[in-house]
């Protein structure tokens, strides 16, 4: 980024841009609130597709429509090819559109992009530039000023080459890239920037369920700083796979009426099938029924059908379960338990699916907030979270010099020590037993400082403040074991023996804080009846600790230090 001086801060007009592999979204801020911009077609989810017909360039929904009539000159799913060698790309999703080509080891497409003459071979970088230029144009039209700069979101597994290629593609479209931010944290920021949001220490799962991929991240949110603890990327269970489920369903329905005509065997029929299946899928996120209607689906035969949500959820179960396992797996990978997760943010178009949100609702404990349209009335549209987060970040940094931004996002600034264990005080449970009360959560970035107000004993008097480390463990209470079935017995069972596991009674799981190493003891003397004690723990980057404590509203207090280890 450094070689380009960039745009002078006071000449910038900024947007947030989520350049997705299947859909993109643009947003800006108006009075510090993010606003998602509709393009000239009125779309806020803009298909990441570029199509050429008679030398005319089309993007978004219009380009998508040409997948039926003009697939060869329509480029789809190209974002993930940026900065990649041809040998390391997955061309699956381009199969029904312009095919990726190996040009000097890189990725290009050959398309008829001019009204006349030979088709051109266009690199993925150039395709991206053309597409981004159109998005920027839409944003400029909306804002009424030429957009100069943007914050772009990227998947967490984009490597440096991919990032550089993205920045280059944007710059070639005359767009200054202020910063690339990771997709899951853009989603978190979009939620945290709401006026009613409080700065809290919480652990969040961000499930970004898109069209061709599902990316899940576990994010430690500590005092407004975000640290990614684990990520998982999946290319088997995403929106396109749900489309496929419905395509197969409707193809079979069609074949019931029209023997020996499989609409999947003809490219054009397949494209129609896919477009209408995706529309039906989206309709099923809102309604309990969706109609499916295609003129001349195959061999000139019109086809009409409906599908209800129940049926859809049944035939798509494998994909849904794959998504469940993905989410459960990444929590485990972070060394955590579902009970450690305070919030699940669902982002990406596929997150509109009610069943997936319902599944998450049952995977996580009741106390976990699941942010999705069908489980929370205060959720933000999952398709808009990334661009909103990017726009908010863009407005935060737009007045900084490019060099300044570069230095502030430097690894020397972002790499910081994080505490391993929680730090807290010992309080008394109702039964009078010692219990751990956290003050600083594990994985809090350092330096950090937290304050709690803890009740003094009822009668007041001299109070003991024991500062200790704490750890959680999961206490599992098993239900009374049922008599075990014998291996020899299930002879007459059919293949349903898988499900039998499900009706086993559920065990009760509970997160318990364990008191760890004692760090310090302090006393606050002569507290009044019913008063509170303030305890502040401050941990420096070198792990030196300062503890201060006093009676709330009282004078003086105790202060002490723990040496860095």
């Amino acid at each position: 980024m450094a070689e380009n001086k960039g745009v002078a801060p006071d000449e910038r007009t900024v947007i947030g841009l989520s350049f997705g592999n299947s859909y993109s979204s643009i947003a800006c801020t108006v009075d510090d609130a993010a606003v998602v911009i509709a393009n000239e077609d009125g779309d806020r989810q803009i298909p990441t597709i570029l199509s050429y017909v008679d030398g005319e360039e089309y993007t978004g929904g219009q380009a998508k429509a040409f997948l039926i009539r003009n697939p060869k000159n329509t480029v789809v799913s190209f974002r993930d090819f940026l900065g990649q060698d041809f040998k390391s790309i997955d061309p699956t999703h381009c199969h029904a559109a312009a095919h990726a080509q190996d040009v000097d080891g890189g990725v290009s497409f050959t398309i008829q992009d001019k009204a006349e003459g030979e088709p051109s071979t266009v690199s993925v970088s150039e395709i991206s530039t053309r597409y981004i230029r159109r998005l920027v144009q839409s944003a400029s039209d909306y804002i009424g000023k030429k957009v100069t700069s943007a914050v772009l979101t990227v998947p967490t597994n984009f490597n440096d080459k991919q990032k550089d290629a993205l920045v280059k593609a944007a710059r070639d479209a005359d767009l200054e890239v202020l910063q690339l931010v990771n997709e899951p944290v853009a989603a978190v920021l979009a939620y945290d920037a709401r006026p009613e949001a409080k700065v809290e220490d919480k652990t969040i799962v961000v499930a970004d369920l898109g069209g061709t991929r599902s990316d899940v991240a576990v994010v430690a949110s500590r005092g407004g700083l975000y640290t990614i603890l684990a990520t998982a990327h999946d290319y088997e269970f995403a929106g396109a796979h749900l489309d496929k489920v419905l395509m197969d369903h409707f193809a079979k329905e069609f074949m019931k009426k029209n023997k020996d005509v499989d609409p999947r065997e003809n490219a054009r029929s397949l494209a129609k099938l896919k477009a209408e299946s995706e529309a039906a899928k989206k309709a099923l996120s809102i309604g309990t029924n969706a109609s499916f209607s295609v003129e001349s689906l195959a061999e000139g035969i019109d086809f009409q059908s409906t599908v209800n949500r129940l049926r859809y959820e049944m035939i798509a179960r494998k994909v849904f379960e794959g998504i469940n396992r993905l989410v459960e797996g990444v929590v485990k990978q972070a060394g955590l338990d579902v009970l450690d997760i305070d919030e699940v943010i669902m982002t990406g178009g596929t997150s509109h699916t009610p069943r997936i949100a319902a599944n998450f609702r049952s995977i996580f404990p009741e106390t976990t907030v699941v942010q999705a349209p069908s489980t929370s009335s205060t959720s933000i549209n999952p398709s808009e979270l990334l661009s909103r987060g990017a726009a908010l970040q863009a407005s935060l940094i737009q007045e900084y010099e490019t060099e300044d931004i570069d230095q502030s996002t430097h690894a020397a600034v972002t790499t910081v020590p994080h505490v391993t264990n929680a730090i807290g005080v010992i309080t008394l449970s109702e039964a009078g037993e010692e219990a751990f009360t956290p003050i600083i959560a594990p994985e809090t970035a350092l330096p950090a400082r937290r304050t709690v107000h803890v009740e003094a004993p009822k009668e007041g008097g001299d109070v003991l403040i024991k500062v200790v480390e704490g750890n959680t463990h999961i206490k599992v209470t098993k239900p009374e074991p049922k008599p075990k079935e014998n291996g020899a017995k299930d002879e007459d069972e059919d293949d349903s023996d898988f499900d039998s596991e499900e009706d086993e009674e559920e065990e009760h799981r509970e997160k318990i804080w364990k008191i760890g190493t004692a760090l310090a003891e302090a006393s606050v003397r002569g507290t009044k009846k019913g008063s509170k004690v303030e305890v502040t723990v401050q941990v420096a980057a070198d792990l030196a600790v300062t503890i201060t404590t006093r009676e709330v509203g009282g004078k003086g207090g105790v202060r002490g230090n723990l040496k860095a280890p």
Partner: protein, 444 residues
């Protein structure tokens, strides 16, 4: 964070006698930290960056150094080693997918049932990158997508938990053959351990108790065999079903095939149960620990028996000794009593003799004093009176007093002295009320 969290659980009261300088007692330092990357996003990060930079400028070297220090979150895609592709496998026909080794197709031969879902996904992606027909076509190769279809089929099976179990049920390549009797004589635990480890994959109940080693306790070994004799297996054999015709015309044929398949599944399942039971039998038969536990149990039993006998013997001996001691004590007591009796008798006799002797002294004394006759021989009456009074005095006093009196009289020859002793004695007796005044006049 500016505001304080409020905790409603109370702090403890200060322990009696607690004291510290300035009321603060440091105990230990905080556990080590992990370096991680915070996301450069949001208003709080801006504040952090301002503090962290503090007018400093960082170089590219600083960047690399810092990045290396941070804990890595993303997996390195290329880090998985790849398995060589068998040319024969690449020739496979997709329609024969049932007989393909799905793990081999994805390059996971080494892992099989142990492959994680993540591994399968990554393996699949790698194969897609390499074998996608669109890529082959792009490089001018033939449009043969057979192997690609094999890859898709393998992934379809392995990413579906139900289908994967069906395949794993019949994945013979994952089987570990049990060692022969002879083979098992060396490295018994290692060889059999592998077998059970592999068989464990079929258990509905997890985790599965393992064979253990020479050091395993009897309890663990018992648990192990109990578990394996009651093994609850999910293994099933529908994967080996013969194809059932799909069309509606051949209904009878279809039903027939279905029945055949069901029976064949049952049979295979029963065979598998038998196989497993035999496996456990064979292992048990060669398990030295079982023999050892038996021996130890026997030894323990013998020890008990021996101890019981010894105890009985000891009790008998004790009884005998006790009886002997009692008899001895009785005898000794008897003897003691006897000697005592004899001694008593002797003493009595001696006393009698002494009395006799003393009495003789008393009588002798009056004789020596010539019966107190003044000049000449004493008259018979005088002698009678004196001797009579001596008898009376003797009768009034006990042997000790007789002895004392005899002592006083012994050796006296002078009649007056003798008389003096006697009259003193009579006076003493009168004083003691044993004689009346005037009695024994002859002696007074």
């Amino acid at each position: 964070m500016a505001s304080a969290t409020v905790v409603s659980r109370p702090l403890p009261t200060l322990t009696e006698g607690w004291s510290a300088e300035k009321d603060f007692k440091p105990v230990a330092s905080v556990t080590a930290s992990t370096k991680r990357t915070i996301e450069p996003i949001g208003p709080h990060f801006l504040a952090h960056a301002r503090r962290a930079r503090h007018k400093r400028t960082f170089s590219e070297d600083d960047r690399i150094e810092a990045q290396n220090a941070a804990k890595k979150i993303e997996k390195d895609e290329d880090s998985d080693e790849s398995e060589a592709e068998d040319p024969m496998m690449l020739q496979r026909e997709a329609k024969d997918w049932k007989s393909q080794d799905h793990y081999q197709v994805l390059g996971l031969s080494k892992y099989r049932w142990k492959a994680t879902e993540d591994q399968i996904k990554r393996a699949h992606r790698k194969k897609v990158l390499k074998h996608h027909p669109d890529k082959k076509a792009a490089s001018g190769a033939t449009e043969d997508d057979n192997f690609f279809k094999c890859i898709q089929k393998a992934t379809d099976v392995l990413l579906d938990p139900v289908k994967r179990r069906q395949f794993d049920s019949v994945d013979e390549k994952a089987d570990v053959e049990p060692p022969s009797k002879k083979e098992a004589t060396k490295d018994f635990y290692k060889k059999w351990g592998r077998v059970f480890k592999s068989e464990s994959r079929f258990s509905r109940v997890q985790p599965v108790p393992q064979l253990g080693n020479d050091e395993s306790t009897k309890e663990d070994v018992d648990t192990f065999y109990n578990f394996w004799y009651n093994f609850d297996s999910w293994r099933s054999f529908e994967y080996l079903d013969e194809d059932v015709p799909d069309d509606n015309e051949n209904r009878d044929q279809k039903r027939h095939m279905e029945r055949k398949n069901t029976n064949s599944r049952k049979k295979k399942k029963a065979e598998d149960n038998t196989r497993l039971r035999k496996l456990v039998d064979d292992c048990l038969a060669g398990d030295e620990r079982i023999k050892r536990f038996k021996q130890e149990a026997n030894a323990a039993k013998n020890k008990k028996k021996f101890e019981k006998e010894a105890a009985e013997k000891k009790a008998k001996e004790d009884a005998r000794l006790k009886k002997e001691a009692e008899e001895k004590a009785a005898k000794e007591a008897e003897e003691k009593a006897k000697t005592e009796r004899e001694a008593n008798k002797k003493a009595k006799e001696a006393a009698k003799n002494a009395v006799k002797k003393n009495k003789r002294v008393l009588k002798g004394s009056v004789k020596d004093a010539n019966y107190f006759a003044s000049g000449g021989d004493a008259s018979a009456a005088q002698i009678d009176a004196v001797l009579g009074d001596v008898e009376i005095v003797q009768g009034k006093i006990d042997p000790d007093e007789i002895a004392a009196l005899a002592g006083k009289l012994n050796g006296l020859k002078v009649a007056d002295e003798i008389k003096g002793v006697w009259s003193e004695e009579v006076k003493r007796l009168v004083g003691a009320g044993k004689l009346k005044d005037g009695d024994c006049k002859s002696l007074a």
